[in-house]
Symmetry: C2
C-alpha cells in the first residue's frame, strides 16, 4: 500500500575512503571506481584537493581524466595556498556543496598546515557528517586520522624515535593511519607509534588498496593489497625506556592482515565478516579434474 506521506530522505552514513597510495587509474580502477560510486556517479559533485602534491597541475589533470572516465562530472578544485586562504568562504561553499571530496598524495604536512582547525577543515567535517564521501590517497589518507604520522623510517623492526606524529584532521578518531605500507616496509614505524599510544589502533594500508569506513565504526577493504590492523591495547612495551634507535620490545600485539572482502569492526577491534575475493580458482579446477 502506498504511503500518503513522502518517504523521509535516506540518510547517507558518514563514509571515508582511505587509500594507501598508487591506486590503479588506468586498469579496472577498483578503488577510484568505488569513490565515484559513493560520490553519486553521474550526479556527483566532486571537489579535488591537490594541495599535498608538488605536481598539482598533473594531479588535477590525471584525476579529472579518471573521474570523468568513470562517469562523474568534471571535479572542482579547492587548493588553498596558505592558512589564510583556508578561510576563503568561496572555497568553503564549494566543500559545503560537494557530494565527494578527494585529497591527493604528496606531503601530508602541507595538508596539516592548511586544513585542521581552519574553516576549510571545518567544512570537511561538516561534509563527512552529512554523508559526502571523503576520499584520500597517500598523504590524503594520513591526514584523515587525528594523530598523523608525518615522517618516519622504513623497516619491520619497531625502533625508538624513528617516527613522528603531528595533528591531522581527526575525521577518523582513535586510529593512526599509515600508507604505502608493505611497499615502503612501514610495519616497524606504525608499531612503534601504536606501542607508545596503545589507546590508538594502527591501520597500515598497502598501495592500490583502501578501507571504506562507515559511521566511524566498521571498515571494508577494497583493492589488490592488504590492510594491517595493529592493536597494542593488551601489549607490553619498553617504549618509556628504550634509547633512541633501539629496537622496541612490544609483546602481545594483536595483528590482522586483511585483503579485499574483509569487514572489520573498529570499536570491537575484530574481524566481523570475510568474503573470499581471491579464490584459488586454478587449484579448484585442477582438483575437480583429478
Amino acid at each position: 500500500m502506498a504511503s500518503s506521506t513522502s518517504p523521509a530522505p535516506r540518510r547517507r552514513p558518514p563514509t571515508l575512503l582511505i587509500i594507501g597510495g598508487a591506486e590503479d587509474r588506468v586498469g579496472k580502477a577498483t578503488v577510484l571506481r568505488r569513490f565515484v560510486r559513493l560520490a553519486g556517479g553521474k550526479r556527483a559533485r566532486i571537489v579535488l584537493i591537490p594541495t599535498a602534491s608538488s605536481f598539482q597541475d598533473e594531479v588535477v589533470a590525471a584525476y579529472t581524466e579518471v573521474f570523468t572516465r568513470l562517469g562523474a562530472p568534471e571535479p572542482t578544485v579547492v587548493n588553498p595556498q596558505d592558512r589564510l586562504e583556508s578561510q576563503d568562504q568561496a572555497l568553503v561553499r564549494l566543500l559545503d556543496d560537494a557530494t565527494g571530496i578527494f585529497m591527493s598524495g604528496g606531503s601530508q604536512l602541507k595538508l596539516s598546515q592548511r586544513f585542521p582547525g581552519t574553516p576549510l577543515g571545518d567544512a570537511l567535517h561538516r561534509a563527512h557528517a552529512r554523508g559526502a564521501v571523503i576520499g584520500g590517497t597517500s598523504a590524503g589518507a594520513s591526514i584523515m586520522s587525528q594523530f598523523m604520522i608525518s615522517m618516519g623510517d622504513e623497516g619491520i623492526t619497531p625502533r625508538q624515535r624513528h617516527s613522528q606524529l603531528s595533528a591531522g584532521l581527526g575525521l577518523l578518531q582513535g586510529a593512526i593511519i599509515d600508507q604505502h605500507f608493505a611497499q615502503r616496509s612501514r610495519y616497524g614505524r606504525l608499531m612503534s607509534m601504536v606501542a607508545a599510544s596503545p589507546s590508538l589502533i594502527g591501520i597500515g594500508i598497502d598501495e592500490d588498496t583502501a578501507i571504506e569506513v562507515r559511521d566511524q565504526r566498521t571498515f571494508t577493504v577494497h583493492g589488490s593489497g592488504a590492510v594491517f590492523v595493529l592493536d597494542c591495547r593488551a601489549a607490553t612495551s619498553d617504549a618509556p625506556d628504550a634509547r633512541r634507535g633501539a629496537p622496541l620490545m612490544v609483546s602481545g600485539a594483536v595483528v590482522h592482515s586483511l585483503p579485499a572482502g574483509a569487514t572489520f569492526d573498529l570499536s570491537e577491534v575484530r574481524l566481523v565478516d570475510f568474503v573470499e575475493k581471491h579464490p584459488d580458482v586454478a587449484v579448484a579446477l585442477a582438483s575437480a579434474k583429478a
Copy 2:
C-alpha cells in the same frame, strides 16, 4: 656442613644458539662470544660445519679466527660432501666429542640433504641432549627447526604460496625459524607459513641477533636487533582458499618483537622476563639536568 659424597656432575641443559645471520665478528662480537662461552671457553671443543656455504674455505678461516680470538681452541671441521659421507663414523665421533657445534650460513637445502635422518644428524641430536651447545647462523639457523623455510619471497604482506617448507633437523620442535628477518623483510613469508600451520610458532630473527633456547622451553635474546614471535593459534585465516599470490587474510595473530634482554616461554608463548638493555641514557641525563 661438607657432604661426605662428591656432588653429582651438574647437568648442562640442552642449549641452542640460533642466529639470524650477519653476526658481528670484528667488533664486540656479542653473539659469537656467547657461543664460545656456552661451548666452554678455553676448554671448548668446537666443531665447525661450513657445509651450507659456497665459500667454505673462507668460512672456516673466518670462524677459526674469531673463535680463537674469543678464547677457544681451534675448531675441528665436519663437512660431509654428500649423504653417503654423512654416515662416516670418524665424523660422527668428532660430533660426539664436541662441547659446541656451529653451522655456518649458505643454503639450508645443502644442510637438509646431508643431516636430517643421517648418522651425523643423529649425532647432532645426541650432542644437544647431553648439553653441547648447537649454534647456527642464517641457513644454520633455519635447519634447526623441524619445519624449515627453504625458500620464499620478500615483503610484509603474507601471500599465498610465496614460500616453501622442507624438513629440517627438528632440534627445535613446534616452531618455524626465519632469519635475516627485518633486513630481508620476511614478515610476510613467515606469517603465511604460520597461518597455514597454526600449531607452529613462527620465530623471525634479525641479523646480528640470536635466541638462546634452553631445554626446548625458554629463550633469551642476544645481539643488536630484534626477534619476532608470530602466534596464530587463535587467528583465523583464508589459507585454505586464497589463490596463488593473493594477500592472505590472517586475523588475530599475536606478535611479539623482542630485543636483547627479553626472555620468552615457548610453551606458554609469552614474555616471562625483560631487562632493558637499550636504556635511553642520553634522555635520562638530559631530563636530570632540566
